[in-house]
Subunit: 456 residues, 2 copies
């Protein structure tokens, strides 16, 4: 097979992204057929006169998103996406190609000193004194419109979303927003399928609201849609772009199968996009919300954590057909986020400080991530197998452990290591490890400590 | 009967408060017997050599709290509190006597310009740059301890509460906190009794959590505890110190009966103390939480509204015996309030700006309240009967109305008048009217507008 993209070397857009976009578009338009073999990296590099790295980067992104697969010793092949009425999901595929700006979710603490305090203060001081802020009146139930504008723009350009500001609801944390969502959908839903392992704090909320919670075991490193189908839940909560805590990415064929399931069964998908922007190995994975054509996806995101754990600003994007119901009930719920903070954040984004911040923290965390994974590989190549480390602020690894769980947890806590035991895979134990708060210069001693916690 | 208090005219404490405290203590210690008659205002004024106003103020407060009653043409009599094991509730009666500083709840908008922006900004700028704030790490689930200290102190001294900081939970709004409370108590409770009319936004939350909501009709201007008893609910939500929206105050015998009911039935009382500090006619009514000896009361308060509607900081005080359960589950819920705002507020309180602010707004609203009620009396003495106006930021009145409800609501909305139709009492309609956002100089034209809305 020959591929013949027209690439613009003078464009601001990286060549690997142009190549990625080209191949993806060929696949989604049906011009590259399922199961056809792509040129090898060496062949493509030679025929297109591009570096091997460029080809590798484009292919990796396509693999991560499930458009192509890499069969060992055979090469790269186009995946079969045909059975899921792909035309329903593709007409905004151009939009789903995001800029190469990363984003991040801070599980616990962020890099000390990463935040531009002085710009934030300057904006805060201006906003609180500005008559237009109307500090003396109540804020909007839904969120200040200036912030909803910025969020819609952010999700559309950075996450491949497809939303207008009127679909955005602002609130103090995903848990609060789930409460509002339940207020909207409770007449039609009383059970929910959640991932196991998954994000427990969402599950707790559903339990509190007396939902029947069905666990979908994510054992084989990919989302088992068949299990979802037999669960009879019509509502599903998941993190397709970076499964929490396993770190896996749902490939595009699975995404389409999921959207197809939702469309055909009047189902609703809650997409928790908690840290999908921060990928080191390639571009962020575009979100489900942008692929959805049938009002099936609710998108959850958090902004406060991008900036500071101390701030609490999250948002939810609901499908257009839920808006009338939302407007009927919105006055039942008070706005939970400070109006002042909302307007400060909106201006911070508008003036470009958010993108600047994201670029900065991406550099910081990428470096930390590399230092950490290299240090682990150096010291424990025979004992620790790193499974996922190309995005987010935690890595996932497996190891053969003699200690029992209680001792392990105690040792981790005593040494301030944010180690989370995910479960057993055959004889090995699966872990996630947060590293966002560790200083670069401490990483070597940190991995020494990790070895002590795990093996001594 | 003779009363012989020893009053200190050189004390900072107002004479009427000293007299009030003396009589209350005589009653609670059983030295003033039930049904005994107090000296008339004239007699007391003459025998104690105090002004009539002093006596009147002390008596009014005792009447408001239900320690004595004023029988028309007969005089003031001590109420019978004996049947509710009063000794259970009295040993902290000294603490329940608050300072004469008022507090307020801003239903909708606050007086424009009342907030000390420059002090707040100064503290904010200091806090966000201060290393000790630890903006780069997550905040406490329960709330920052510096703020919980201030809140406990505030509730104990200003509201007659009896709490330690470890019982205080901070959150972004009463609705969020009710969610946390439900997480704590849901194993033992699935129904709740609420007031009708009452605070709908609390009721909605219970409904969302699938609680069986039982309405207790507050028709006769006092809480019908018998109805509560037959409702079989073991959880009750009410606003005893200033019923919302009727503005009535639960007298102390009812309070004790309620606490007694809770104690004997393993019941729980959720006390929404939303605006009890802002009383114009006397001291704030001490809260139920301070009277409770048996872990029966959960106290809800809001701070953000004292300062600005734009801020969202509320708090909940739970009984000590619920603390172990809370600590078991607290990590299920993320903190919803900005850590920065929490620490700013704590410092604002610590440095005395809160009390200063409260004194200021109390003066402002008292003046507005007087201007408004006088203007209404002047213009509509034959048409509008003011029922409750001595506290909070709304007045309650009744009137004979020809317009139907729809037209009335439309006229009110069109004219930006925050008029809430509570219900019918015989032929008359009961209303509550918010006035916090109106400028003093506009009050006369505002009441003209009110007349138009109601009668034209």
């Amino acid at each position: 097979m020959i591929i013949s993209p027209i690439l613009d070397k003078t464009s601001n857009k990286a060549l690997y992204i142009q190549l990625y976009e080209y191949i993806k578009s060929e696949i989604t338009l049906g011009l590259l057929k399922p199961d056809s073999k792509l040129p090898s990296i060496r062949e493509a590099s030679s025929s297109l006169n591009l570096s091997k790295t460029t080809i590798e980067n484009a292919y990796s992104q396509l693999v991560a998103e499930g458009y192509i697969e890499n069969l060992p010793k055979k090469g790269y092949f186009v995946c079969d996406l045909s059975e899921y009425s792909y035309e329903n999901f593709t007409d905004n595929h151009k939009k789903t190609v995001c800029k190469t700006v990363d984003f991040k979710y801070l599980n616990d603490g962020v890099d000390n000193g990463s935040f531009d305090i002085s710009s934030w203060k300057r904006i805060y001081n201006k906003v609180i004194s500005d008559k237009a802020t109307e500090i003396y009146t109540n804020g909007s139930f839904q969120g200040e419109s200036i912030l909803r504008d910025e969020i819609a723009n952010f999700v559309n350009t950075m996450r491949g979303g497809n939303t207008s500001p009127d679909q955005v609801i602002v609130g103090a944390g995903v848990q609060y927003l789930l409460g509002v969502l339940i207020g909207i959908i409770k007449d039609n839903h009383n059970s929910v399928a959640v991932e196991n392992p998954g994000y427990k704090k969402a599950e707790f909320i559903f339990e509190d609201y007396m939902f029947d919670v069905k666990h979908i075991n994510i054992t084989d490193n990919s989302y088992p849609i068949d299990t979802l189908k037999t669960s009879e839940a019509k509502l599903v909560y998941l993190s397709p772009s970076h499964q929490y805590p396993l770190g896996t990415i749902m490939p595009v064929n699975k995404r389409m199968e999921l959207l197809d399931w939702a469309y055909k069964n009047s189902g609703l998908i809650i997409e928790d996009d908690y840290d999908a922007i921060i990928r080191y190995g390639g571009m962020p994975i575009p979100c489900l919300q942008g692929l959805d054509k049938h009002n099936c996806v609710i998108y959850l995101g958090s902004f406060s954590k991008v900036l500071l754990p101390a701030l609490r600003i999250s948002f939810m994007i609901i499908p257009k057909n839920l808006l009338p119901k939302y407007h009927n009930i919105k006055s039942k719920y008070t706005q939970s986020t400070s109006k002042i903070d909302q307007i400060v954040l909106a201006n911070f984004m508008k003036e470009g400080y958010m993108l600047k911040h994201i670029r900065k923290i991406k550099r910081i965390y990428k470096k930390k991530n590399l230092l950490l994974t290299n240090s682990i590989k150096e010291k424990y190549s025979d004992k620790i197998n790193i499974i996922n480390s190309d995005s987010g602020l935690h890595i996932v690894f497996e190891s053969l452990i003699k200690k029992n769980e209680g001792d392990l947890n105690k040792a981790a806590t005593d040494n301030h290591i944010l180690l989370n035991i995910i479960g057993k895979v055959e004889s090995k134990t699966l872990f996630s490890l947060n590293y966002s708060g560790i200083c670069m210069e401490d990483i070597s001693s940190f991995t020494d400590m990790l070895g002590k916690v795990l093996f001594e």
